[in-house]
Symmetry: C2
Subunit: 275 residues, 2 copies
């Protein structure tokens, strides 16, 4: 059997009882380590499970799926995923490959940032499309997500912004070499996200868009979340300009751009996180 | 300490290890029983936890919050909630009340239908606003959610439809009596939802809206899900007209109206659930 197990968001004890039982009995257990990370790290997981884990980086997950699935029709193999297993396309693809090979599979769900984001007090039913904000570089500054924020705000919906994670990215120089070299891992912080969002504002204004037609301005409320579900979780509600100066500590971070008009209960709850 | 603990979606073992440890040590543990239900039922939970639970129905949760929170500043009290604690407004309100009373609180996240819906293979990032479909009666047929489906479809987004749950609803006759009498519990099925959605179509057509301007038609693909996360989980993908004839068994059910154009990977995955 092939098991795809969500680990939730915070620490080792956020695994479900069902998930833990499966992890203990499996012959091989892989820990997917590039679409998300747990605040606690691999060693804490291994200690808690009482077994070793095989780290599954991008190369292994995307090109070594056959290796991971090998023998899963006669043995038990698990792939552990931070959050919920269906949070990333890669994992859906894994199930399809298992299906193709005639390998039986089971999914163990868990919390994902998509529902745990409710911890800031915004109603989950009032979120529009979720967006991803990628790291920009000197030449590549995609901003198509701006239109989605605009659409959500026009419909008085909140926007959850998932922030970029770069783990085991080959350096540009090494791409032409035989031996790959990797950049240090990077996890976008809420302040880095706010900087990029404000840069888009400048561009939109230079295109002649008036302030009242912008998706947001420097004064718009936004909510920064870090390490959701972990005991060190932090939530800050402030203007987007203030968010640039915020420091929410270690990764992972997420940013929410709330709807213009909040429900009174949302208003009251979010106020808890204003400075 | 007041604990708000998500139980996830399937069976007793879907609680997290963290949640289980807290449940075992608490002085009082309430099981919220009117915004959602677990397929397994209260007795199975009590057996698994090795302790008794106090059933918290609508009256207790909405009017007896003070009773539930009583003593939580010196003792440990937990409220268990199916799915994730932030899935319903009522639970957010609970945290605010605890705050007001100076009671420390902790939230234990878990899977909710909002992320577990990904099990049908549709990408979670491509969902628009979630809607709720209420039971209609002879005189009350609200359909404002139709516009949200339309907006989602216009933007090529999927719509998750949460289906009505009626638990411990007083009968109309008993409202004027001293002794309340309650209707049997009802849980909307995907076929009941499809019937109401098709009735809205008739109305829209009678208002002169052309087929190409409708949010969906009888032929639109929809996906029915039942008992997500439980081993008896069922997923069916068919036209909305066919969904009227479907039988997905015991509650809870959810319905998804996918975007018009699916990603190839979504297409491939959803095809697994077509008859």
């Amino acid at each position: 059997m092939f098991y795809l197990i969500g680990l939730g968001l915070g620490d080792p004890k956020d695994v479900t009882v069902k998930g833990l039982e499966i992890i203990k009995k499996c012959d091989r257990v892989y820990l997917e380590s590039y679409t998300s990370i747990l605040t606690c790290g691999q060693t804490a997981l291994e200690e808690f499970y009482g077994r070793s884990l095989i780290l599954a980086d991008r190369e292994l997950v995307e090109q070594g799926a056959d290796d991971i699935l090998a023998g899963a029709n006669t043995h038990d193999v698990a792939l552990l995923v931070v959050g919920d297993p269906f949070g990333a396309t890669t994992h859906t693809d894994f199930i399809l490959r298992a299906k193709e090979k005639g390998i039986p599979f089971q999914v163990v769900h868990n919390a994902s940032i998509l529902n745990a984001a409710g911890c800031c007090g915004l109603q989950l039913y009032s979120f529009g499309e979720t967006i991803s904000i990628p790291y920009w570089d000197d030449t590549w500054k995609p901003d198509s997500f701006y239109d989605k924020i605009k659409m959500n705000r026009d419909n008085n919906l909140h926007t959850l912004c998932l922030l970029d994670i770069k783990v085991k990215e080959p350096t540009l120089e090494s791409l032409t070499k035989k031996k790959r070299e990797y950049m240090p891992p990077r996890f976008m912080s809420v302040n880095e996200a706010a900087v990029q969002l404000l840069e888009i504002l400048k561009k939109k204004r230079s295109e002649g868009i008036a302030d009242e037609d912008l998706a947001y301005t420097e004064k718009s409320l936004c909510i920064g979340l870090s390490r959701v579900g972990h005991e060190s979780q932090q939530i800050v509600a402030c203007s987007m300009l203030e968010m640039v100066q915020s420091d929410l500590g270690a990764p992972l971070h997420s940013l929410i751009i709330p709807a213009e008009k909040l429900h009174p209960l949302e208003e009251e709850y979010v106020a808890l996180f204003k400075k």
